[in-house]
């Protein structure tokens, strides 16, 4: 039973989490979030009357359920650990939780540290040339749950039992209407803020009705008030509308997500007091209880937010991000490039500077003191995570890159890139993923028929390495040995690679062009050699479809994410993941490495984007604001910004350092499947299902930023609607959705998609 596997994985995530927090239990069915009754933040700012004592028995119940489950699956070791851990929460929970909240870990991440050792030490061992003892003892038990037989699921019932307390079902309508009336009559400035409460309340009240078998009341309640909800919740409401019976609630993941994670609202203190007073006056315990138990209200001092400010940030499955979640320092700067001797030294330096910091005074200074380039204060230390050493071929490639960079076209509003479109013909709707190498010499396609195909787009054909017997005959001392090992007879323009047993949804070339990664519906990520065109490794871990995968910009590491809601960080020479990033409440739809390789961004169907620290495994940023599943992400070349595109047809821009939304680009009418910044970060290109490529003025979008202290402190944003000014061009294809974009090293834009007759 695969759902069990997921749960058991989550248990482990929980067990090994050093700092348990409410988010960490996001998709842990066993813990309904109240295990940590005083979850971070809720006690810190609200000062609300949390009834810690009342919940304790249920905590124990949950723990017992977990222990029971583990025992059943003969995971005695884990049982031990949990027992030991179980002592902790009761004793030291409150202070610890508060501390962690203060530290702002946001703590959504579970680190799976396989040996329980120091995370960084593991990483360094991993990169150690010998990689000798790095063999983690087979805690394959993480996945062993998948073979476990489906038994009763006490955990599920525990989760749901929270709904058992109930009031009079007929009064629900009255309560809700009452609150609605109240909110409609409050001052305008508070109304928008308080209206945020409607949706989570509505859902929880509906679920309570359903859980307690008041089917007809539930239906009536739904019909009466579902129309009032914000339009961007329509998808969720549709799922909800299908759910009419208690039996349906079990095993419904969306529901469990909603139940187990607290819906986060940001409300100003004044508005909150208003609401609280009203509810207390009316003795409206039903609603008060829901607010206490299922919502997390992040209270801030200051002016209440306007409707547009709220709308910009809301829309995700679990409300907005807590402010604490985005407080951790992120080292978004770029790593220093290794110094490589170059014939055209000066020019290249200059080109590089332009790339790194296209803005303001810096370039001048740097180009003067060319050699001793200072480390970017925002950059992580060079060895924060161990990176593979450069090989000779990598150095050659770097030189090529720099040479190309000197010929790069400076783009801008008056100098738009040319777009070359690669159309896949006769794909019969089967093209699911595309990637191009950094030097634009190879293009790979993943197809619904499980194949992976690679084409050469230069006159240089694809060749395999000769067979072992033939290789023996080669003179290994000769200068052109690399050329000699190739088998001329196998030269062709394209190669097909078979291995997957389901549609290939993600594909990524390694930076050195020797490998190709592909992720598939069959739950595996495969590593292919582009020298032999065979599969080298199948990384198993995700038991469900893997929607996306990507190589680190420095190679060696890669990240994958899929339907099981966790992203995994792998190293090519390990068959087990090094990190598991857990916290999303729904499928992870896209994954992307930060240019400095220290962070990973994931987009999800829960309509949030999370940024994870590769070193610690922690979630360091949560971005909310999209109204649909996110399908594309792109980091700006200077590492400061992130762009994301979703099914809602909008591109949102984020400042990573401040953890803020800084722009919204409206124009597309369908899912955005591809985003890419030009090499110097001046232009953002977006490709969509609506058959268009659009170019946006990224420079302008980021330059106009007002990141003054006030906005940064409160997390408020005020977006101007300037999409039309920023849109530099729209190019329509005949009938080809644009699913991949790529800027060549000289800033020519390549786009790809399958013709859809």
């Amino acid at each position: 039973d695969m759902s069990l596997a997921k749960q058991s994985t989550d248990y482990f995530v929980t067990l090994y989490t050093k700092q348990p927090s409410a988010d960490g239990f996001g998709n842990n069915n066993a813990n309904d979030g109240r295990v940590l009754s005083a979850s971070p933040g809720s006690s810190s700012s609200t000062g609300s009357n949390k009834q810690t004592a009342a919940v304790t028995p249920e905590d124990q119940q949950t723990l017992l359920a977990v222990l029971q489950f583990l025992k059943k699956n003969k995971l005695s070791e884990s049982v031990e650990i949990l027992r030991r851990e179980a002592g902790l929460p009761e004793n030291s929970l409150d202070p610890k939780a508060n501390e962690s909240a203060g530290a702002g870990s946001g703590g959504a991440a579970g680190i799976v540290d396989l040996e329980g050792g120091d995370a960084s030490s593991l990483l360094s061992r991993v990169t150690g040339s010998s990689s000798a003892g790095a063999q983690a003892p087979t805690k394959g038990t993480v996945q062993s749950g998948c073979s476990a037989v489906a038994e009763d699921q006490p955990d599920v019932s525990v989760v749901l039992s929270a709904y058992s307390q109930q009031g009079d079902p007929t009064l629900y309508k009255v309560y809700y209407r009452d609150l609605k009336k109240f909110i409609e009559t409050v001052l305008d400035c508070h109304r928008a803020e308080l209206s945020q409460v409607f949706y989570p309340l509505f859902v929880h009240m509906y679920l309570e009705l359903v859980y307690n078998n008041h089917e007809s009341e539930a239906k009536a309640f739904f019909e009466k008030f579902s129309g009032d909800q914000e339009c961007y919740y329509e998808e969720d409401l549709r799922i909800l509308s299908g759910l009419t019976k208690k039996e349906h609630m079990r095993g419904n993941e969306t529901l469990l997500d909603f139940r187990t994670s607290k819906f986060v609202l940001r409300i100003s203190r004044d508005s909150y007091q208003l609401l609280k007073r009203h509810l207390q006056e009316r003795q409206n315990n039903q609603i008060w209880n829901i607010i206490q138990e299922h919502l997390y209200i992040d209270i801030f001092d200051g002016m209440p937010r306007s409707k547009s400010q709220i709308d910009a940030m809301s829309g995700s499955l679990a409300g907005e991000a807590k402010r604490e979640a985005n407080k951790t320092k992120v080292y978004y700067g770029l790593l220093k490039e290794p110094e490589i001797e170059l014939p055209l030294d000066d020019e290249d330096e200059e080109a590089e500077n332009e790339e790194g910091k296209p803005k303001k005074k810096k370039p001048k200074k740097d180009s003067v003191g060319s050699k001793s380039k200072k480390q970017d204060p925002n950059a992580p230390s060079q060895n924060r995570i161990p990176l593979p050493e450069l090989k000779d071929s990598d150095k050659l490639d770097k030189i090529m890159y720099m040479k190309e960079a000197t010929k790069r076209i400076r783009l801008g509003p008056d100098n738009l890139p040319s777009v070359c479109f690669y159309t896949f013909l006769n794909a019969y709707q089967g093209l699911t993923a595309v990637d191009l190498t950094d030097d634009s010499s190879l293009i790979a396609g993943g197809f619904a028929d499980s194949t992976v195909r690679v084409w050469s787009v230069t006159p240089k054909k694809l060749r395999k390495v000769k067979s072992a017997a033939d290789l023996n005959l080669i003179d290994k001392e000769s200068d052109d040995v690399l050329e000699r090992i190739m088998d001329e007879k196998t030269a062709s323009e394209s190669k097909i690679m078979y291995g997957h047993s389901g549609p290939v949804y993600g594909i990524s070339f390694s930076p050195d062009r020797n490998y190709l990664l592909s992720s598939s519906e069959d739950g595996t990520v495969r590593l292919w050699s582009l020298l032999t065109f065979t599969c080298l490794v199948a990384y198993k871990g995700h038991n469900y479809p893997v929607w996306d995968t990507q190589f680190s910009p420095y190679g060696y590491y890669f990240v994958s994410g899929g339907h099981d809601r966790v992203a995994r960080l792998w190293a090519t020479d390990h068959y087990q993941p090094l990190r598991i990033f857990s916290g999303h409440l729904a499928d992870i739809t896209c994954t992307r490495f930060h240019p400095n390789s220290n962070y990973v961004a994931t987009g999800s169907s829960d309509r949030t984007i999370r940024l994870w620290d590769v070193l610690s495994g922690n979630c360091v940023r949560i971005f909310t604001g999209h109204k649909g599943p996110i399908h594309s992400l792109a980091f700006s070349p200077n590492g400061k910004f992130l762009a994301s595109g979703a099914t809602d047809g909008r591109v949102l821009l984020w400042d990573i350092g401040h953890g803020l939304m800084v722009g919204e680009l409206k124009g597309h009418t369908d899912t955005i499947y591809s985003l890419r910044f030009s090499r110097d970060g001046e232009i953002l290109a977006s490709g969509s299902m609506d058959n268009t490529v659009r170019l946006w003025d990224a420079m302008k979008a980021f330059d106009d930023l007002e990141t003054d202290d006030f906005t940064a402190a409160t997390g408020h944003i005020h977006l101007q609607d300037n999409s039309q000014e920023l849109l530099l061009g729209t190019y329509t294809t005949k009938s080809t959705p644009v699913i991949h974009l790529h800027f060549t090293r000289r800033n020519l834009l390549l786009a790809a998609g399958a013709f859809n007759p």
Binding site: V457, P545, K734
Partner: protein, 695 residues
């Protein structure tokens, strides 16, 4: 097939290899297990459409009708299902199916499609740990059939029993085309080139707006959207500049300056259209009918046709007139052209071909009647598409035809043309204008046919007019007159033509009855279209086996197809040599290169090769482009066409680049074989050209 299960897991659809679904129910049987192989898709289809409906009617939960449950139960032999078990079942099934459909949508999104396929549902079932249903691999749609009878409606999936020997004996279907990659310029320095791969630059609406609102000042911003072609084709006409400055033009200029490439294209196309080689003509006409970028050349073509008709009518050159009319047809077929502006030239030309007294040198032998018919159809078509209340084309044309028809001195040829022109306009025109004159016309025909022989030509003309009238009038009369058809009655009504008309009408009636019968019969079985392979096969014959994907490399320099026809007077053209220097009229950094597109199998738009001009960006603005058309003798293909033509684009090598000059032969086998002459194509790239490539 009912079985009770000892255990029931309500969390999942429990699946066995046969797609068995378990549902909890409140009826006596604790668990009903319905084998529903083949049924799951039906509810899914139903629910998907129901969910679309839901979007409109605000989330009221849609549930399968209980009749559905009954029907499914019956189909597996469960006769008596209680009503409340049906209700319970349908609710449960609806919920589970909705879940599956929602998961399936996920797969659709990740598959980057807009259409939900059966494989999405299979994958969604797999997520739920349910064995997918095998055997439903239809990519495009699910061939459900519909039947009704006895007040019940049924959608069903038809599973035919297949005779193995049939399968063995039928020849193998063609291997589907392999995936291939094709590159084209979507945009060049911010401008979208007008090539067949891109959507038409100026939509008809824009062309119309331009022609109907000539005084409108176009702002620079708008220009990017609408009138790209002016720039992208490298012609910065005074026109365009005027627009940019926002000056009000008093009178729009009807012609545009054409770039050298466009002029070349124009020359090639017009020569092919009136040349002697039919294959080339077909290519050229195809190009006219499909290319999206011809808008600028339209005035030239229009003038070419009208002048051509004027000259060739005088010279009685029937063949050329036919060719010109085919050009008119091709222009009308091109969906991207807004012809209204040029009707004043085209309509007189067409009408001339309908009614001219003499169209050929030997009217007694040559079949100029066909030309008249063809032109009449063109006329009718343009009436249909272009006639409005303001231009009144149809009524003006009708008047013209009627007037000369009524004239006693009108010759038979013109008479024929008038009648044909009128008859093509439709049955209403026949009814009101032609049928009342049947008696008079009959008398005239009789005079020629039975009177003293005046001239052979008159007699032939009368014969043709007679058969034309019979052909067009019979079907109309068949609808007008009640049966029975009486010969005498016809004689009194229509005079000389009456008896013949009568027999034609009867024939028409029987034919109509036959057709009606066939129609009735087909309505008995309602069939849905089978999936058709929307694969356009290449013109290559005898190519079997998997075709290899062909990549046309980045369209950096050019691809080429050049149908240069020999003129009729010169069956084998001499070895001509063009050297065309592109004028750098546009921005200095823009080079003008001819893009000739050969087609690969399954091409975006057209089967034919179609040359289009465009510009290509170059990194270095100093390079002078050189487009050279060469023709020299190549390997002789056929005796009649010994010449092969090379078109070479060469650019002077730049010192800064160290790349070697490459010369590669593009895969032109397809285009060259479809061209009768067999063009060979060579592309030579100098480093200058290669800088334009994306890598």
């Amino acid at each position: 097939e009912i079985s009770s299960h000892s255990r029931f897991d309500p969390c999942h659809l429990n699946g066995s290899h046969d797609g068995i679904l378990c549902f909890s129910s409140k009826c006596d049987l604790d668990f009903v297990c319905v084998s529903t192989r083949g049924y799951i898709y039906r509810p899914v289809c139903f629910l998907v459409s129901a969910m679309a409906e839901e979007r409109r009617q605000k989330h009221c939960s849609v549930v399968l009708p209980t009749e559905s449950m009954k029907a499914m139960a019956e189909s597996v032999g469960v006769g008596q299902l209680q009503e409340d078990s049906c209700v319970a079942l349908s609710e449960e099934v609806s919920y589970r199916i909705k879940e599956i459909a929602q998961d399936a949508l996920k797969f659709m999104h990740h598959g980057k499609r807009r259409k939900l396929t059966t494989s999405d549902i299979d994958n969604a079932l797999k997520l739920k740990n349910v064995e997918p249903l095998y055997g439903f691999q239809s990519q495009e749609f699910i061939p459900f059939r519909f039947a009704s009878g006895g007040g019940r409606e049924l959608h069903f999936y038809e599973e035919k029993e297949v005779d193995l020997s049939d399968i063995i004996n039928t020849p193998l279907p063609r291997v589907p085309l392999d995936v291939s990659l094709k590159a084209h310029w979507l945009s060049i320095e911010g401008m979208q080139p007008a090539i067949p791969e891109n959507p038409p630059p100026a939509t008809k609406e824009q062309q119309k707006a331009e022609s109907t609102e000539p005084l409108k000042v176009v702002k620079p911003g708008q220009e990017e959207e609408g009138t790209i072609q002016g720039k992208s084709q490298g012609t910065t006409t005074p026109d365009g500049k005027g627009k940019e400055k926002g000056l009000i033009r008093l009178k729009p200029r009807s012609t545009h300056e054409l770039s050298v490439e466009q002029q070349l294209y124009y020359k090639e196309i017009t020569e092919a259209c009136v040349g002697s080689c039919e294959a080339k003509r077909a290519e050229a006409l195809q190009s006219i009918a499909t290319d999206p970028g011809l808008y600028q050349m339209l005035p030239r073509f229009s003038t070419f046709i009208s002048e051509g008709v004027r000259v060739n009518v005088v010279q009685n050159n029937l063949a050329l007139l036919i060719y010109l009319m085919r050009m008119v047809k091709a222009l009308m077929d091109n969906p991207t052209l807004y012809l209204e502006k040029y009707l004043h030239e085209l309509i007189p030309a067409v009408v001339t071909c309908i009614v001219s007294k003499q169209l050929c040198l030997r009217p007694d032998v040559d079949n100029h009647w066909a030309l008249r018919d063809f032109a009449a159809r063109l006329m009718a078509q343009s009436c249909k598409t272009f006639s409005t209340t303001t231009n009144n084309i149809q009524s003006r044309i009708t008047k013209t035809f009627t007037k000369s028809w009524l004239d006693d001195k009108t010759q038979w040829t013109t008479r024929y043309g008038c009648i044909a022109g009128l008859a093509e306009l439709g049955s209403d025109v026949i009814k009101t204008l032609i049928i009342p004159r049947l008696a008079v016309e009959g008398a005239r025909i009789k005079a020629v046919m039975e009177g003293p022989v005046v001239s052979n030509i008159d007699k032939i003309g009368a014969e043709h007019v007679q058969s034309l009238l019979l052909k067009h009038c019979a079907s109309v009369i068949a609808k007008l007159r009640p049966q029975p058809d009486n010969v005498d009655q016809y004689r009194t009504d229509y005079g000389y033509l009456g008896p013949m008309l009568c027999s034609h009408v009867m024939k028409a009636r029987t034919q109509a009855a036959l057709q009606a019968q066939q129609v009735n019969r087909t309505t008995l079985t309602i069939t849905q279209p089978r999936p058709t392979l929307s694969v356009s096969q290449s013109g290559l014959s005898g190519s079997s086996g998997p075709r290899t994907p062909s990549i046309i490399k980045v369209p950096s320099s050019l691809t080429l197809m050049s149908p240069r026809p020999g003129t009729p007077s010169q069956p084998s053209p001499p070895a001509t040599k063009y050297i065309v220097m592109a004028t750098s009229a546009g921005a200095a950094s823009t080079q003008q290169v001819i893009l000739f597109f050969t087609t690969t199998p399954g091409n975006l738009s057209s089967q034919s090769a179609s040359p289009v001009t465009s510009t290509v960006p170059s990194a270095t603005s100093t390079l002078q482009p050189l487009v050279k058309l060469e023709s020299g003798s190549g390997a002789g293909l056929t005796a009649s066409r010994p010449l092969q033509k090379y078109i070479v684009v060469s650019l002077p090598s730049s010192a800064s680049s160290s790349l070697e000059t490459k010369s590669s032969v593009l895969p032109t086998s397809i285009s060259s074989s479809s061209l009768d002459g067999g063009m060979k194509l060579e592309r030579s790239e100098s480093p200058g050209a290669s800088t334009q490539s994306p890598h």
